[in-house]
């Protein structure tokens, strides 16, 4: 078990509907795996199971060699981030970030110090006192990242985190996330339905469709696989290039 995260033969059904079927997946430490999947592919369920919010019917999840399948979400040190920033509406930006540290009953001065550093990292120092409704979509998402990363989770699960943002904010956030992931040695699963985003964000790429998952050894293998849709995309842009 040298792998950081390993998922073996995971199954999940809701009633008669099979949502996940024999999912196998591995992730190295300090890498980001992009998972490409459209809505209804089962990607959200998969992330929730990894986080411990949902339970699988069958299969095992190993984190750093330990089987965590039966652990409570609180014990897993895995944070799941939704498409919405889900900032706590009764707390300001600062307190939202401090939330996890306060749960650990960390002392006040250390919290202040850590949160200020995080605010700086996510370029939100100016907005520390603002309440969630006063923040823009991108700013909310930054706070949401800060809130997750400050407790230094072992693994970060991101479910279409930029799905609700406009194109320019989106590319800025991709940039920011990549820098942060690198600086903080993050391991993450990044789910998106956007082909380009999957390629940009991931060190590795997988594709989930109708509850089945294919993980590619290298990005090249992904580009060459007809199932991935990359070749189709390239052909499309080429055809435009030729016609003009």
């Amino acid at each position: 078990m040298s792998q950081f995260l390993t998922i073996q033969h995971l199954y999940k059904t809701f009633g008669k509907e099979t949502v996940l079927q024999d999912i196998n997946l591995t992730l190295d430490k300090n890498t980001v795996l992009s998972l490409l999947g459209s809505s209804g592919s089962g990607k959200t369920t998969l992330l929730k199971i990894i986080a411990g919010i949902e339970t699988a019917d069958k299969g095992n999840i190993f984190l750093e060699g330990n089987n965590i399948s039966d652990q409570k979400p609180q014990e897993r040190h895995i944070v799941y981030l939704y498409q919405e920033a889900l900032l706590f509406p009764h707390l300001n930006a600062f307190e939202n970030i401090a939330f996890g540290l306060r749960l650990q009953k960390m002392n006040e001065s250390l919290i202040t110090e850590k949160v200020h550093l995080m605010l700086k990292n996510i370029e939100m120092t100016k907005h520390a006192k603002k309440m969630p409704p006063q923040l823009s979509g991108g700013q909310k998402q930054r706070i949401s990242f800060g809130r997750a990363m400050i407790i230094e989770p072992k693994l970060l699960l991101l479910d279409e985190p930029f799905g609700a943002l406009d194109a320019s904010t989106r590319s800025k956030m991709q940039e920011l996330f990549k820098t942060l992931a690198h600086n903080m040695n993050l391991s993450a699963l990044f789910v998106t339905h956007d082909l380009k985003e999957a390629i940009v964000m991931g060190d590795q790429i997988g594709k989930i469709q109708k509850g089945q998952l294919v993980q590619y050894e290298t990005k090249n293998e992904f580009f060459n696989d007809a199932f991935s849709g990359v070749q189709k995309e390239i052909d499309f842009w080429k055809s435009i290039g030729q016609n003009t």
Partner: protein, 257 residues
């Protein structure tokens, strides 16, 4: 101009019953065709200084019952409704809750009265509290079911993944976010209990004299001045609540407050 006049007329006519009841509560002897009672005095209101007076006691009996019912329903309903809201059979539970909610409380009292008799609960303070609780609890559930939503559930889960225990999540996330729902439920149930007559009279078998029971007793005794006084006491707490925050006076399903 007509619109203004109509509005002022409307506001005055809304306030009229309050003034009317107040004047009547101060009255003595009101023979036809006098427009106002012949004597106006504070004699009826002297009960305020006599802790052994019927009205004084009725007020506190009512207050005690309503507070108990409201506290129990608010607390228990909060916890139970959460599991129901996120259950796959949520709609079945909701329809089940609507049955006692829609039935007239006095009819409810008729059909479960027997069980109160054999357990010796009729005519007791506890019996009335339990009976009112049974009627008000489904309403509490309905209020809360309008409140729990996917967003709140996600926040709760997020708190777990950030390391929050069940208790911490209740304390730091769910309760602060539920403050309005809790208050709404508390005041709504308080009012239901405060306004209740038929069921209270049946289960209390006349021995538990709440304010509403007093009103009817005074009416049968043809003592309209005391009845008016009891009526005035009945509308005081809701008016106080209206003054504090009108949002808690009514519960409108499915529309934003």
């Amino acid at each position: 101009m007509i619109k203004r006049t109509l509005q002022y007329g409307f506001i005055i006519s809304i306030g009229f019953p309050v003034v009317f009841l107040l004047v009547l509560s101060l009255g003595r002897r009101w023979a036809y065709p006098n427009i106002l009672p012949e004597q106006i005095s504070f004699a009826n209101w002297e009960f305020l200084q006599q802790s052994d007076s019927k009205l004084f006691q009725a007020f506190f009996v009512s207050l005690g019952i309503s507070l108990c019912v409201a506290v129990f329903v608010t607390a228990l309903g909060f916890v139970i409704s959460k599991f129901i809201a996120y259950s796959q059979r949520r709609n079945t539970f909701l329809v089940l809750a609507y049955i006692p909610y829609l039935l007239s409380p006095v009819i409810m009292a008729i059909i479960f009265q027997y069980y109160f008799i054999i357990t010796g609960l009729t005519g007791t303070f506890l019996g009335v509290i339990i009976a009112q609780f049974l009627v008000a609890f489904p309403f509490g559930i309905i209020i809360y079911l309008n409140f729990w939503n996917a967003q709140l559930k996600s926040m709760e889960e997020l708190s777990y993944t950030l390391g929050g225990s069940r208790w911490q999540t209740y304390k730091k996330v769910l309760l602060p976010l539920s403050k309005n729902a809790l208050m709404l439920c508390f005041f709504q149930v308080f009012l239901i209990s405060w306004f209740e007559y038929g069921l209270t009279n049946l289960i209390g078998s006349g021995k538990i004299r709440t304010l509403t029971v007093s009103v009817f007793n005074f009416v049968t005794e043809a003592n309209i001045f005391y009845a008016a006084l009891a009526c005035f006491l009945l509308i005081l707490p809701p008016m106080l609540l209206l003054y504090i925050n009108k949002r808690f006076i009514l519960f409108v399903e499915k529309t934003e407050l």
